[in-house]
Symmetry: C2
Subunit: 447 residues, 2 copies
């Protein structure tokens, strides 16, 4: 028995020999072996893998980070990859083989047994982030007229092939799904019972083309540990297990946060400053272009700013407020689109709600800033322009934050992009434009 | 059999009678009943619940959103809550009872059977977001000297009590965990075998005080569907199942995004504009105060700005860049702290890496802006001040973005706060300060 904290940490000396490393890693869980090996260079890691028995090597390989895995399979020979892939379940084998370049992929496929090759070729058809793309083809299923004994015999046969078996699926003679036999039912049922009598007939299924994020929602909603995948004709074609769903949830959360931050999780694994810089620069360039846009707007209103320099002092308040309101709004809109809970649905109703909130905040913050600026500079016309503009900018940012996610979704772009630097930058420019155009309209009243 | 999309949607007319609703909802999965009822007011929802049989009512109740659940248990009588809680597993019962006010909580507890009451009282001791706080006390365990038959008999007894049973735990006479019997092993083992001979002796466990986010990482790393929880003496006290872990992962991701956006998922369920406004205002006030701080800085450098108004035009570039660089940096630092992968660990090494990236970006963006401003305004001294300041601001923002998460962690605050509006606002002020102080130093060179 091992507590997580004790087991997890083996600090490998990257200079030691592969043999020494294999010794240090013996007996560890493959996930821990993979974690320890992440700190070793790809060449050494590959040599360590080749010293392990093939089954362990396979388990370690699929526990590596994606970028490390890609490095390793670039080094391994086609024959070595094929023998490792033969030990993997079809979904993992497909991930490995799918990451290869065309020529090497064909070579690896040619070295697989017919059945394995066909499973991988089938799975390679589906888009990466769909139910088909994450499902495994290995299934234990019985005909609805079979007995519990038959089901148990099939589980025994599948011992080597399937690691995480939770259910036996019950099908008719057209391989259409009729029910499910959880292991618990099999433990408790008399061995001679007909499976149709002990199965659960109500099964939640997903179709091969469902987006992986929606599949994850189905798992979470119904508290599932596995789900059968059916094709458009209702034919059972695969299963997805909860371990893959946890990875989906993790990846999708990372992706959302990366979009918001204008970066990418990739760079966690990147040591080269140049490469990290290349990941981050595009977003910074957007920000810089937006800043130059703001400068252009301010240059356009140069006359007003020369007359009343104090106007310029409040540009940062205006941009900060536009950015924050826009981000709050778009985040809530994107979230409610995802969960389909709360006030879901149509842009119009959401916009009305967001306007009510924005008007409240605009009144409170606008009048506060009006008072602060008035008392500070003793210039109540200036105060009115700043406070009024701030209120206007809040309304505009709320509108943009609501409309952008719907607009992005309509043109087939991930609405989450509306939470990223692009929209914040747009808000900056529009905010300054609103502010200075209002200010210049009332400029004759300003001292 | 039901495809998710067919089953999920029942649109209830909020005006119809509870009896009609009960009819429409008959046969649906409790999670779908809960989803449909989210659109109904709390009074009606409570009346619908009371018309369902207690077991269904219990399943529906725990599938409601947290805020709806709180409304409902505020309306239900103590006796009604007690009979629903009696149908729940201890972790869910604890969530329900823990959400009650003190007096009502005591009343509900007094109406529970002794065993249930004790389980809830035990679980209430643990902090909400720890392994103890999310575990269930119901366990099926056998002594290591028992036989497979005994284990199966215990599973049969637990049928009513435990919904998601995946493992039978094997203990010694001090209730210390010795191994685990997955259902699959029980299906395949001869009925007369000793459990010690068929169990898996290597079990990953977590302790009651482990943070729920760390527990989720353990699940994801080892691909678990359930984990036993042990107290500091190694005594088996509970179990956590993967359905709760999916909720943890979802909630933690929402929390991170909410922190970044300066809002809260709560508002998804809030119809009142005033209440939503109250959730968002604190972050906007921080932004407004920061903006006033920036105004103060600009006012301080009024003389320089009067002399060279064009300086003011580039304030938005400076703040946008400081904000974006700070957010990119803090996001990557917080992520690498979480996963403990990539370059983990000490602030010093991370800072060196971030500086290398920042210097690269500062050189590229600084010289680009230098060229743009120089060509645009034909004033190369101004261009040098803007480009140089931009480079300096990038370095400062990268430093702040790296140091803040470590500093926050040291004082016991969630490092993710460094990705929120507070730090971006701080970056704005510091950026303008750096920019204008550099500019005023070189002001005599500017036209």
């Amino acid at each position: 028995m091992s507590d997580h904290k004790d087991a997890a940490r083996v600090d490998l000396d990257p200079e030691s020999s592969p043999e020494t490393m294999v010794g240090l890693l013996a007996g560890l869980h493959p996930a821990d072996v993979a974690l320890a090996l992440e700190r070793v260079d790809a060449e050494t890691l590959t040599r360590v893998l080749l010293q392990l028995d093939t089954e362990t090597a396979a388990d370690v390989l699929i526990n590596l980070e994606e970028h490390t895995l890609e490095d390793i399979i670039g080094i391994l020979k086609a024959k070595e990859i094929a023998s490792i892939a033969a030990e993997l379940e079809s979904d993992d084998a497909t991930d490995v083989i799918g990451a290869l370049e065309d020529e090497k992929r064909a070579e690896v496929l040619s070295k697989l047994e017919e059945e394995d090759r066909q499973a991988v070729l089938d799975l390679l058809q589906y888009t990466d982030e769909s139910a088909g793309g994450i499902m495994a083809a290995e299934l234990v299923y019985v005909n609805q007229h079979a007995r519990v004994d038959d089901a148990i015999a099939l589980i025994r046969e599948a011992t080597d092939e399937i690691d995480d078996l939770h259910n036996v699926y019950v099908i008719d003679r057209d391989r259409r799904l009729r029910g499910v036999l959880p292991l618990r039912a099999l433990v408790l049922a008399p061995r001679g019972a007909r499976v149709a009598d002990v199965m659960e007939p109500d099964v939640v299924t997903v179709s091969t083309d469902m987006d992986q994020e929606d599949v994850a929602e189905v798992f979470r909603k119904y508290d599932l540990i596995a789900i059968p995948v059916v094709d458009p004709d209702g034919i059972l074609v695969g299963r997805i297990t909860v371990d893959d769903i946890m990875d989906v949830m993790h990846d999708e959360a990372e992706e959302d946060i990366s979009i918001m931050a204008g970066t990418s999780e990739e760079e966690l694994h990147e040591d080269s400053a140049l490469k990290v810089s290349r990941i981050r620069l595009p977003w910074l360039v957007i920000g810089a272009l937006g800043g130059l846009g703001s400068a252009t707007v301010m240059n356009h209103y140069r006359f007003s700013l020369e007359k009343v320099l104090t106007l310029a002092f409040f540009v940062p308040v205006i941009t900060a407020m536009g950015g924050n309101v826009g981000l709050q709004t778009s985040t809530i809109i994107v979230r409610s689109m995802r969960t389909e809970r709360g006030l879901a649905g149509e842009a119009g109703r959401r916009l009305l709600k967001e306007w009510r909130v924005a008007i409240t905040n605009a009144l409170i913050l606008g009048s506060t800033i009006y008072l602060v600026v008035g008392l500070w500079f003793g210039d109540w016309s200036l105060a009115a322009v700043v406070g009024g503009s701030l209120a206007a900018v809040i309304l505009v940012a709320a509108t943009l934050g609501t409309v952008m996610p719907f607009a992005l979704r309509r043109v087939g772009v991930d609405p989450a992009v509306a939470q990223g630097p692009f929209v914040t930058t747009l808000n900056d420019i529009i905010g300054i434009l609103v502010y200075l155009s209002l200010a210049s309209t009332f400029i004759e009243r300003l001292s």
